[in-house]
Symmetry: C2
Subunit: 327 residues, 2 copies
C-alpha cells in the first residue's frame, strides 16, 4: 500500500485527499472554506490541520499540489494569488518537503486539472489535449506528448484572452472581445445587464428577458452566469442570445486552437459548460466551422468535476517522485 497526498489550494476553498496508488477512490478526504480574511499563512495553517487529520499515522510517498494562481512549476514556488494575500514568492514545494520529508510537486490549477483529466478522466489514453475551464474566468492547460506544456515562462494556456471579436465589449485586460469577456459566468451576467440598459424595451417584453426578470426581480445585480443558463433553458430569448454568444466565442477559440496545435481532444470543465445541450451544440458547430476541414478533433465534457485539481495533484505527485514515473 503506497499512499499519495493530494492538496488543492483554491481561491476560496482548501481540500486535501489521500489515495492508494492505482485506486480511483479517495481513501480519506477533507475540505474547508478559506476564511473571508484569509492570507497565505492562515491558508497554510488550515491546510496543515487538514493534512494531519487525514494522515493520522499514515506515511505518504509523495505530495502533489494544485494552486489557484501562477506557479513556477520548475521550482514549486507560488508567484501570487489573485484571491488571497501574502502568497507572493512562497516556496510551497520547499516548505512541504521540509515538513514532510518526501517529494512534492506544485503547479497551477489549470495545468493540474489538465493532467488530472489526462490521467484519470476524459483525456485518458489521449497524448495531446487542451483542457479549458469556463467558470468565473476562462483558462486552459496543455498536455502534449503526454506531458504538461507550460510555456517558456509558465504562461501557456491563456485561451481566455484570445481575441475573437475585435469589435466586441472591452475586457478587464484592456482588449475587446476576448473569449473570457464573452464566455465567463460573471461576464455573461454583465452582458445581459448591458443589453437591458441599452434596450430597456426588452425588459420583460416579447424579445426576451421576462424569465430573467422573474429570477432576480428588478435587481439585475443578482444575475449570475448560472441564472443566465437557467433562463436560456426556460426559453428566455435574451438569455439565449447571451449564452449562445458565449458558446460562439468558445467555438471560435477552440477552432483557432485546433488549427494552430491540432490536439486530439478538447476537454471542457467549469460551471458554464453545464449550460445544456443547446450551448454544446452551438459550441461544437462553431468550432467545426472555424477549424479547417482536414483538422480532426473532439470536444468532450470534463468528468472529474470539482475533484479535477485533486486528481491532477495525484498525477503531479507521481511525477514528483521518480520511483513512480511509470505508474
Amino acid at each position: 500500500m503506497t499512499l499519495i497526498l493530494a492538496l488543492d489550494f483554491g481561491g476560496t476553498k482548501l481540500a486535501a485527499a489521500l489515495v492508494n496508488i492505482g485506486s480511483r477512490k479517495w481513501l480519506r478526504y477533507e475540505r474547508r472554506l478559506s476564511p473571508a480574511n484569509a492570507d497565505a499563512s492562515t491558508d497554510l495553517e488550515i491546510m496543515r490541520t487538514l493534512i494531519y487529520s487525514l494522515l493520522e499515522d499514515a506515511k505518504p510517498a509523495a505530495i502533489g499540489v494544485s494552486f489557484g494562481g501562477p506557479v513556477d512549476a520548475s521550482t514549486g514556488t507560488v508567484r501570487l494569488s489573485h484571491h488571497v494575500g501574502g502568497w507572493e514568492n512562497i516556496p510551497l514545494k520547499g516548505l512541504l518537503e521540509d515538513e514532510f520529508g518526501i517529494p512534492v510537486g506544485v503547479d497551477n490549477d489549470a495545468n493540474v486539472a489538465a493532467l488530472g483529466e489526462h490521467r484519470f478522466g476524459a483525456g485518458e489514453g489521449y497524448d495531446s489535449l487542451f483542457y479549458i475551464t469556463v467558470s468565473t474566468g476562462v483558462g486552459g492547460g496543455w498536455i502534449l506528448n503526454g506531458k504538461p506544456w507550460r510555456g517558456a515562462g509558465g504562461m501557456a494556456g491563456e485561451i481566455g484572452h484570445m481575441v475573437v471579436d475585435p469589435a466586441g465589449p472591452v475586457c478587464l485586460c484592456g482588449k475587446r472581445g476576448c473569449v473570457e469577456r464573452l464566455a465567463s459566468g460573471p461576464y455573461m451576467a454583465q452582458n445581459v445587464r448591458e443589453i437591458l440598459e441599452k434596450e430597456p424595451q426588452r425588459r420583460g417584453g416579447l424579445r426576451g428577458g421576462e424569465v430573467l426578470k422573474g429570477l432576480v426581480g428588478d435587481n439585475l445585480e443578482l444575475l449570475t452566469g448560472q441564472l443566465v443558463s437557467e433562463a436560456a433553458a426556460a426559453g428566455d430569448d435574451l438569455a439565449k442570445e447571451v449564452l449562445y454568444k458565449a458558446a460562439w466565442a468558445l467555438g471560435v477559440g477552440i477552432g483557432n486552437v485546433a488549427n494552430l496545435m491540432n490536439p486530439q481532444r478538447f476537454v471542457l470543465g467549469g460551471g458554464v459548460t453545464k449550460a445544456g445541450a443547446d450551448f454544446w451544440q452551438v459550441l461544437q458547430r462553431v468550432a467545426r466551422e472555424t477549424a479547417l476541414p482536414e483538422v480532426d478533433f473532439e470536444i468532450v465534457p470534463a468528468v472529474l468535476g470539482d475533484d479535477a485539481p485533486l486528481w491532477g495533484a495525484v498525477a503531479i505527485a507521481l511525477i514528483a517522485n521518480p520511483k513512480f514515473v511509470n505508474e
Copy 2:
C-alpha cells in the same frame, strides 16, 4: 567528412544541396524550375538528375527532404501537393531509401523551415519557437522542447486560418477575416482592388492610390503584395492602409498564440515580412497589446531566406540518422 543531402520539393521549384556536417556553407547546390505541366513523376525525375549531378562519387550519410504540401512525417509519405498533380500518397521516404540505401526524413515545408531556423538561423539556442511564413499563403511550424510539434494529425501550425476579424472579408476557406485573408501577398493586392472598386474616388485622389496607379497603370490585375509594400514605402495612403491591416492581423494572431502557447520566439519569414520598418512596428505593437502583460516573447525576422527549407532538410536528415542525434 560526413555528407548530408538536402532536398526541397517546392511548388514551383526543385532544389538540392550537399553539405558537410557542421559546416554552414553548401558544398554543392543545384536548383531547377518545375515545368509548367509538371506532375509527381517529372518532379521526381528532375530531382534525380539534380541529385546525381550533385553527388558525383560522394556518398552522403542521410537525406532530408522538405515538401511543399501535407506530409505524414512519421512514415515520410506525401499526402498531396496543392500545386503539382500525382503526389497523392507517394511514399517519398521509401522511394529515396530504396534508391540510395541511407536513412531519409521527410516533412512539410513549414515544419522543415521552422527546424531550419531553429538549428541554423534566427531560432538557434531557443527551445520553443513558432515560425511563420507570410507569402502567397500564411503558414507556420512549431518547435517545442527543441523538437517539431506537428499535431495529432500533422496539421499543427495553421495560423493562416485563425479568425482575427469575424466581420472581415471572406477567405477561400469560407470563413471571414482569417490572418491569411488579410496578410498574404495576393490577398493584400485583392484588398486594394476591392477598396478602389467600392470607393472609386480614391483612385489617384488625395486619399491614396496614386502611387499604386503609377505602378500598374490602370490594370489593377497586375497588383501584387510586393507592389503594395513598395507603394506604402513611397507614402501611398491606400497601400499603407492595406499593409498595416495585414500587420495588424499578424499582430493579433501572434499575440493570441503567445497567450496560448507562450513560446520564447516568433520567427517571421516570407516576402510580405520584407515590407519595411513601419510594417514591423505595427505588427510588434499589436502583438504586444494582444498578449497579456506577463507573457514575454520576441518577434524576429527569419535569416535563412529561400534556403530555410534546405537547411531544415539538413536538420531532418540529422534526425533521420540515429548516429547524428546529438550533432
